[in-house]
Assembly symmetry: C2
Homo-oligomer: 412 residues x 2
């Protein structure tokens, strides 16, 4: 750890939540608040309404959160989605200069931003602009993303709960698919990183330690592996010939060998967001397009098309109110740890989760530089990928402890 | 109750599961098995693999389920989806004659069929053909459907658990929508009856007794109320103007004033099933089409289109492995009750759930005739509907006790 500054700045603190909400992002909010309690250098603790978007309004949209009762904090911590409101803004230098101005006006000296790699980049720029302008201010990034795509972290808060939802959904849906056999395609969130789609593989365990016979998903397509339409059709045909059914996990971010999203090659008229990304969640298009492909090209033994259905799990994945207990605890912990960095006199930083052991599962937090994580994307490591349509045993070992106990399900 | 036959037929029993699976259909399977235990007239208890489709194969696809251990039965009962496999076949008279032949061949004298109104119709026809042909056989229908559309029942097994999923999903999604405000359209199962879509209204309570301020869903569209595209756009605009966001619950079965499904009027090339019904679940089309409509016609104050997302809950609704405790208990109960009808010498019948009291919630089972329920559809009663885009307080009173305790969620 780099040496901490000796001087403790006196002033207010502000906490913001950014990007897609998660089932445990409020744990991190409450973690920062708890971590700042009794820190005499901090006068008021503000929450930013809708992140930097609310902070930079006139007047600044701030709400005092330092005096909320323990009971109220507990209720907020246990509720999904961003209790303060979130923001999709991706601040550039000019925007960040306005953030610094708003902080000056409200005497905010401690800036905590809970979010993904874009949010850590906001922290980095705000920190640089404040430093360059001579405004003493300390910026801390608190990690959060269901995509699990932050550098330096074993995993990110929010991911284990979303992975728990995905694994549970695939488990129940595989039994559904066995009840009424056909091809079932489920589209999972994850624009660039396949971790969440990989979590579908836990469904094969059906709450136990070993894969259940014939349990889905039978095919898993990740954004890290170039998607080939012909190979996909052949894969589905092979599983269908063998089992009379096929459950498929597809990441919304699958790309062809040229890096072009399959959603884009198969569907017209997709919306783009402020970051220039095409809209992948909150639309059923990719699932429907892949279903159409299977209906047209996969055949039953009698030559007819199989029964094909496509579901897009959508936003339920990220905020389902049954979080992984480990995730809830760690999300609280990273918030507290960030507050601790401030108390210890650090001038900036982000927090990473380190896995200490697998059995029993144990993790720790460490300070990393904002530049270690800002605007970078972590992908599934190669050792987690198996061939063109599956994940490895190493991926399952990595994922299993994170999601908590899943229901034990069976069939005849 | 009509007088029961004095004579008890000796022979085997067979149990089948039909139609879309649910979270608790295996409770009913185990209920019938348990109810037949110690009934000396029954020699073997068979399960039909994939319902009448497996029964009528040569050889008949039957599995003995009467000797499964209590531990195994418990594990099966607590697992979602049809453990025996289900069937989408809709038998006509000729098919039912083959069913009777298969029963004769396996000495099946007690025929239990767990399913919805199509399944009760199968029971009715099989019963008539067996009677007319002089084969002594007794047919019992065990109710099951997430659509809640069976006549004579206060509600149907499977519905409360699906309603629990829908209410939970809307609750979390409304907090998500408040985090990142926009228009969010969620499409819910229910081709003809709006009960499941209506259950979204429970989300407004956020696990408590009174509606939370601003909690969604803000608009609810049922198949029982003719859907008007222009009115829908105006409704969304009005909520958006007021709250800066809007969460919408839409039944997959919404129809225009001429009874034509909106899915059909908005989307091309929909698949039809063996019953001539268009495919509504397992496609994202309706949600995407309604989202496009809102993007084109609803305006923010600055004249731009709002952020719009559409999710189709899909198959997760029916098999999510967190059933309503009341539903699990009642689903087991209707199975046992059907077995009891056989033991008491009834020659046929179906089971209805009667609500005895609301506080505390109490229900009872009663025998009804197969003809009371066969091939009929129950709709939402008029008193459960409020205007063109909501449900009534009576609907919420009806729904609330069924779903069990929901998580208590909050926001700042």
């Amino acid at each position: 750890m780099p040496p901490a500054s000796k001087s403790l700045l006196k002033g207010n603190a502000a906490i913001g939540q950014s990007g897609g909400p998660t089932a445990v992002i409020n744990q991190s909010l409450v973690g920062v608040i708890e971590g700042l309690k009794g820190f005499s250098a901090v006068k008021k603790i503000y929450g930013m309404r809708h992140g930097v978007s609310g902070l930079t309004q006139t007047p600044a949209q701030l709400v005092e959160v330092g005096k909320l009762s323990p009971g109220r904090l507990k209720a907020i911590a246990e509720s999904p989605a961003a209790a303060l409101g979130s923001s999709r803004d991706k601040p550039d230098a000019a925007y960040c200069a306005r953030i610094v101005e708003s902080c000056k006006a409200a005497d905010i000296r401690y800036f905590f931003y809970i979010g993904g790699n874009d949010s850590s980049d906001t922290c980095r720029i705000v920190n640089e602009i404040a430093n360059a302008g001579g405004y003493a201010m300390r910026c801390f990034h608190v990690p959060k993303t269901v995509d699990n795509d932050l550098m330096q972290s074993d995993h990110t808060p929010g991911f284990p709960s979303a992975a728990r939802f995905v694994a549970t959904a695939f488990m129940a849906d595989s039994l559904d698919n066995a009840s009424l056999p056909g091809v079932k395609i489920n589209v999972v969130m994850g624009r660039h990183a396949g971790f969440l789609t990989a979590a579908s593989a836990l469904a094969r365990l059906r709450g136990g330690d070993k894969p259940a016979d014939g349990a889905g998903p039978h095919l898993i397509y990740l954004p890290e592996v170039p998607f080939d339409t012909d190979r996909f059709v052949a894969d589905v045909q092979a599983v269908y010939d063998r089992l009379g059914r096929c459950q498929v996990a597809v990441s919304e971010g699958i790309q062809n060998k040229d890096g072009k999203p399959i959603a884009e090659t198969l569907i017209q008229g997709l919306e783009r967001d402020a970051h220039g990304n095409i809209q992948l969640s909150g639309v059923g298009g990719l699932g429907d397009a892949l279903s159409d492909l299977v209906k047209k090209r996969v055949k039953r033994k009698d030559g007819k098309a199989p029964r094909v259905r496509g579901d897009t799990f959508g936003y339920l994945q990220r905020c389902w109110p049954d979080p992984s207990p480990i995730d809830a605890k760690e999300a609280r912990g990273v918030g507290k740890f960030a507050a601790r960095l401030a108390r210890d006199g650090h001038v900036s930083g982000s927090v990473a989760i380190v896995r200490v052991s697998d059995k029993p599962y144990k993790s720790a937090f460490k300070r990393i530089e904002l530049t270690d994580v800002a605007a970078k994307t972590r992908h599934m490591p190669a050792e987690f990928i198996s061939g063109s349509n599956d994940v490895s045993a190493a991926a399952i070992r990595y994922l299993k402890p994170l999601v908590g106990k899943l229901p034990s399900l069976t069939s005849l």
